[in-house]
């Protein structure tokens, strides 16, 4: 077997420590982590080898390592680690560094990972939306009944801003993931590891298999110490799926009417918003929102409950959780305030609801923008990189096809 030259990089060790892996150096390589891990392949199991690679600052071996993403941070390893080295947290930190490494532009990647830059990152959507309101000549707290689209932020504005943000994110993801894939495949050619046998199979089958796997959360359910996480993540996941369907559906209602002249029939209310609550699209949207709310609240409680065993989590994690919470809470609140406004008599309607409703909706817009635009740099990127890594693991033979 070829001799490998080891070049330690203290800067990378410090990066791992700063990214939430402050316990990395405590590891003394006993392999308890690899033994208790339920999601690792049997050959060359993680996370022990990742721990020593991180301890020696071997960036190349970590950043493009699919194993880092096969880890679902069950934290079984962290709970059983005799030295308090928290391998789960360390791998989380490595994933963050991996996201940052592949994301372009890199300054934005650094900013999303740094608490100091949070104000600046928030300022961008805040300014964009203030400018948009001013351009429409709208008031910040419009008079009369609460109608977000008409009086506050018209649909074209929403569409333009969010399409731009989404496009930015998609381009970012495509660039990042293609670099990642290149490194992954290069690592096959470079590597001396026996598992990287290049057993390329039909890519479409692999992708479908991977999708089936994360739709069911089969792998995630192998966690023990934090076994509730698979369920809560499932809530959040399907909450997002439902909201994505709702958004597409809403677009269909609006543009179906505008461009194709489809009008409302049966319970389907093609046309402009707002739509009645019994509309199926509305039902899907509200159910999804409740799923997401329930999921994210459980994420927060579970994380706090397991903090001692599984580690408290990093800024990177909590920023992501915070944004999702903000989106779902402000989203639901905006809707509730609007409905409350409809439900009250003219005379009884107080200025208070408006005072609360528009700022809430504003925060909602800012939060959604934050999630979209910064997705390639935030923990949101995990969905893309993990999927890529899972596909690669199947593609390269790193994993048996048992999943």
């Amino acid at each position: 077997m070829a001799e490998q030259i080891i070049k330690p990089d203290v800067n990378f060790i410090n990066d791992v420590i700063a990214a939430g892996g402050e316990s990395v150096k405590k590891c003394f390589q006993c392999a308890t982590c690899s033994v208790v891990c339920n999601v690792t392949p049997e050959d060359n199991p993680f996370p022990r080898k990742e721990m020593i690679h991180a301890q020696w600052g071997l960036k190349d071996r970590l950043i493009s390592n699919p194993d880092v993403w096969l880890c679902h941070q069950c934290s079984d390893c962290t709970a059983y680690c005799p030295r308090g080295a928290k391998p789960g947290e360390v791998l989380g930190a490595v994933r963050k560094l991996s996201i940052q490494h592949y994301a372009t532009p890199s300054f934005l990647a650094k900013a999303v990972g740094s608490p100091k830059a949070l104000i600046g990152l928030l300022a961008l959507p805040v300014i964009i939306f203030i400018v948009a309101i001013l351009m429409q000549g709208n008031s910040f707290i419009p008079e009369g009944r609460i109608v977000y689209a008409e009086k506050f932020m018209k649909v074209p504005y929403i569409d333009v801003i969010f399409s731009a943000a989404a496009l930015f994110a998609v381009i970012g993801f495509i660039m990042g993931v293609s670099r990642y894939w290149k490194d992954l495949t290069k690592s096959i050619e470079m590597s001396s590891n026996p598992w990287q046998r290049k057993v390329k199979g039909p890519m479409i089958a692999i992708i479908l298999g991977t999708i089936f796997e994360f739709v069911t959360h089969k792998r995630f359910k192998k966690c023990e110490v934090t076994k509730d996480r698979a369920n809560t993540h499932l809530f959040v996941f399907f909450g997002f799926v439902g909201l994505a369907i709702t958004t597409t559906w809403a677009i269909a209602y609006l543009y179906g009417y505008e461009f194709f002249g489809i009008t409302a029939f049966s319970v389907f209310h093609f046309g402009e918003s707002p739509y009645p609550l019994y509309d199926p699209m509305k039902i899907v949207g509200n159910v999804s929102a409740i799923l997401l709310l329930a999921g994210i609240l459980q994420v927060i409680t579970n994380r706090r409950k397991n903090a001692e065993k599984a580690g408290a989590g990093s800024y990177f994690d909590w920023l992501f959780i915070g944004i999702i919470t903000s989106i779902v809470v402000t989203g639901i609140l905006s809707e509730v305030l609007r409905l409350a406004d409809i439900g009250t008599e003219d005379g009884l309607r107080l200025a208070d609801l408006r005072m609360l409703a528009y700022p809430t909706y504003f925060i909602h817009l800012v939060s959604v923008f934050f999630l979209f635009a910064y997705a390639p740099f935030s923990k949101m990127a995990h969905m893309v990189y993990r999927t890529t890594a899972l596909v690669f693991a199947k593609y390269s033979g790193r994993e048996e096809k048992k999943y």
């Binding site: 080891i6 150096k25 390589q29």
Partner: protein, 742 residues
């Protein structure tokens, strides 16, 4: 002393239920010829009332107290009657707890034991200590390193005069050569200034301590309390008298020139000792060009835990490399220290220091086997390692490599020399002469004038470390009054060595105090008896001088043996060795045990009788343990404790067999490599003598199987009853002793 007997039988702890005590009293009085009124019983003999009964008898003139109750290994404080000869008969453990109650056989065992107890006292006498004259209680400490200085201070602070001998011009040893020490205080994260210099000041200003620097020991003559030591300082000699020694001659680093495969010879490959020198001077620079080193590799177990070099772990090197990694990091925060180890071994609280050092991002550790260190050009080196978690085969560049070399005890050279001499001697006189001519004789540390050699003996498989009865008495060597401490005994850290020194100093104090009272030093630390030979009958056969494990018997000019009593440990090996049977102790002699066998054991016409001579140190407590577990002992056996199987005189065997006893078991310690016998080789000697005896038995048409030596450790108690039963089965096959009834 007029012998007036008081015999007491306890009925407690099940004895009363197992035995008919009234019958036992009658049998004891009749069989051992003591007045019937002198044999008493009590419900609970160790109760205040029971003890009061005995004390009153003693007040009224009873001088010989025989107590039939529990094992002598318990209740020794209760059954203590100063001025009397007290003998304990083990009715509880050996009968009540191990045999069928209310049975004829059981009753017979008790009668025999009681008789034997009385006979022992009838034949024995009250010990009077033999205190030699002009005893010194000065303690000589050899070696002025951390161990020696600590031992000297401990002894001096306890009020004893100390002579501290150091062969170098200054005190301090290796401890004085360090830049910093590994942390000793919580939270174990700061290096500490070497503490040796304060200790040197302290010992130099202690008025109880006389320091001999640049001094070696030319000759050590005499015995504990009466050692005459000739010291040589700068060419002149003087003789001083001392009572006991602490031998702390320390260690040398393993010769790194044997570690060529680790690149030693390249100027940038240094040892941990050299690293201390470099750190003491300032920046960590590499020797080849004086450039500051920034990538420093530490190779653990360099020549240690390696069958080709030192097979053992030196215990301090991991801590030292972690400490030196801290030098590297403190002197230059850009530098990294890479540690390659087999296993990190950081004994005691050093583990916490290890944990702290691990957290430093610039200290990189990996397990692995370093296979080679090669030149990488421009003065740098490549460390090549296998089986690491970083890769199967890896190569790391370093600009300085530190080899963590281990400890070689100061005693090793002499011991290797004498071992080789013995080997050469086996090949014949010519080979021995050639060896002596060709091999330079290494300096001995103590230069003892003992017939067993000039140095503390070696232990097989101990790699030249000084002898130690490491299982039971780690400070004890086979040279009474000489206690080893520190790295001459086993590899240890400085903290451990200082602790070890305090222990050795206490043992030296115990030694001088005991010889002052005429007591054995150890392990029979209470014993005031001593071997008292009837010299008129001595034939100067020298078997005793050859066999004494402690060199306590020397010969005068005419070849007549004489005792150096303070070296003696009272094991009785001489008593067992003597073909003329002239060696006796007050309470233990050929006659006493012989009479117990002859007159104490009733040999019936039907059924078997077997004598078990049980070593008091391991076998006897093991039998007691079996009794505590309520295991069954065969009722045909009669157990007689002996000080050591080495004290077994073969006449006992012939006495027993000629009386019709069907078999004998010698129950003693395991022997061989790494002796665990308290008296070094007692059971081994007994086995040797036994093998000779068995030839004689065969000639007499007696089956050799009738006599067996069984080796047991104290932990073998659970196997013991079965071992005895197996022996009884064999006797049953062989049949009764044909001499029975003659």
């Amino acid at each position: 002393m007029e012998k007036k007997f008081g015999v007491y039988i306890c009925k407690g702890c099940g004895i009363g239920e197992a035995l008919n005590v009234d019958d036992l009293k009658k049998a004891t009085a009749g069989g051992a010829k003591v007045p019937a009124e002198a044999v008493k019983d009590h419900g609970i003999l160790c109760s205040p009332e029971g003890l009061e009964m005995i004390r009153n008898d003693v007040k009224e003139g009873t001088t010989c107290v025989v107590i039939g109750a529990c094992s002598p290994r318990v209740k020794f404080e209760e059954f203590d009657f100063p001025g009397t000869i007290t003998e304990r008969v083990n009715l509880r453990e050996f009968i009540a707890w191990t045999m069928e109650p209310g049975n004829e056989d059981t009753q017979a065992v008790a009668e025999d034991y009681m008789k034997m107890g009385v006979i022992k006292v009838q034949k024995g006498g009250l010990p009077e200590p033999n205190i030699l004259e002009d005893l010194s209680n000065t303690i000589m400490v050899i070696g002025g390193g951390i161990t020696g200085i600590t031992a000297a201070l401990e002894a001096a602070d306890a009020g004893y005069k100390v002579f501290l001998v150091e062969k170098e011009a200054e005190l301090g040893g290796w401890a004085a050569k360090l830049y910093k020490e590994t942390p000793r205080l919580y939270p174990y994260d700061k290096l500490e200034e070497p503490r040796i210099f304060d200790k040197i000041k302290e010992v130099e200003s202690n008025e109880n301590v006389t320091i001999y620097k640049a001094t070696t020991v030319e000759k050590t003559d005499g015995q504990p309390g009466l050692f005459d030591v000739t010291l040589r300082t700068n060419g002149s000699s003087q003789t001083v008298k001392v009572g006991a020694f602490v031998m702390a001659a320390g260690w040398k680093p393993y010769d790194a020139s044997k570690l060529e495969y680790l690149g030693y010879g390249n100027p940038n490959v240094i040892t941990n000792v050299q690293m201390e020198e470099i750190a003491k001077k300032g920046k960590i620079v590499r020797p080849s060009d004086g450039k500051e080193a920034k990538k420093i590799a530490f190779i653990q177990c360099a020549g240690s835990r390696d069958a080709n070099h030192l097979p053992y772990c030196s215990s301090f090197c991991c801590g030292t490399s972690l400490k030196q990694a801290k030098y590297v990091r403190e002197k230059n925060s850009d530098a990294v220290a890479m540690i390659f180890y087999k296993d990190i071994r950081t004994p005691g609280q050093t583990e916490l220091f290890y944990k702290n050092m691990q957290n430093d991002p610039g200290v990189l550790l990996t397990k692995g086997d370093v296979t080679a260190i090669t030149d990488a050009g421009n003065g740098n080196l490549h460390v090549e390692a296998e089986n690491t978690l970083l890769g199967e085969k890896i190569k790391v560049e370093a600009d300085l490599v530190v080899l963590a070399t281990g400890i070689v005890p100061a005693t090793r050279a002499t011991q290797e020399y004498f071992d080789a001499l013995t080997e050469a001697g086996k090949k014949g006189d010519d080979a021995k002469k050639a060896f002596l001519d060709e091999t330079p004789k290494p300096d001995s540390i103590l230069n003892l004038t003992y017939r067993q050699g000039p140095e503390i003996p070696t232990l097989e498989g101990a790699y030249g470390f000084a002898d130690s009865n490491f299982i039971c008495f780690q400070y004890e060597t086979r040279r009474t009054g000489i206690y080893t401490a520190g790295c001459v005994k086993q590899p240890m850290t400085m903290s451990d060595a200082a602790e070890d020194a305090a222990g050795a100093a206490l043992k030296a104090i115990q030694c001088v105090e005991h010889v002052a009272k005429g007591m054995a030093v150890h392990p029979r630390a209470w014993d005031t008896t001593f071997p008292d030979p009837l010299m008129i009958k001595c034939t100067s056969c020298k078997r005793c001088t050859e066999e004494c494990p402690f060199g306590a018997i020397d010969e005068d000019e005419k070849g007549t043996p004489f005792y150096r009593l303070n070296r003696c440990r009272r094991c009785g090996t001489c008593m067992g060795a003597c073909p003329e049977r002239i060696v006796s102790f007050k309470d233990f002699s050929v006659d006493i045990v012989g009479s117990m066998i002859k007159d104490g054991v009733d040999v019936p016409d039907e059924g078997y009788r077997v004598i078990v001579l049980a070593c008091e140190n391991d076998a006897y407590p093991a039998l007691d343990s079996a009794a505590i577990k309520k295991m069954k002992l065969h009722p045909a056996v009669r157990i007689i404790p002996v000080r050591c199987l080495g004290s077994t005189n073969l006449v006992w065997v012939t006495d027993a067999l000629s009386r019709g006893i069907d078999g004998l078991i010698l129950l003693g310690c395991k022997y061989g490599e790494n002796y665990q016998c308290h008296f070094v080789k007692g059971s081994e000697l007994a086995n040797y003598r036994f093998s000779k005896l068995q030839e004689t038995l065969s000639k007499l048409q007696l089956e050799a199987d009738r006599c067996q030596l069984l080796q047991v450790a104290i932990s073998d108690y659970d196997k013991l009853p079965a071992m005895i039963d197996d022996f009884m089965k064999r006797i049953d096959e062989v049949g009764p002793n044909p001499f029975k009834g003659f």
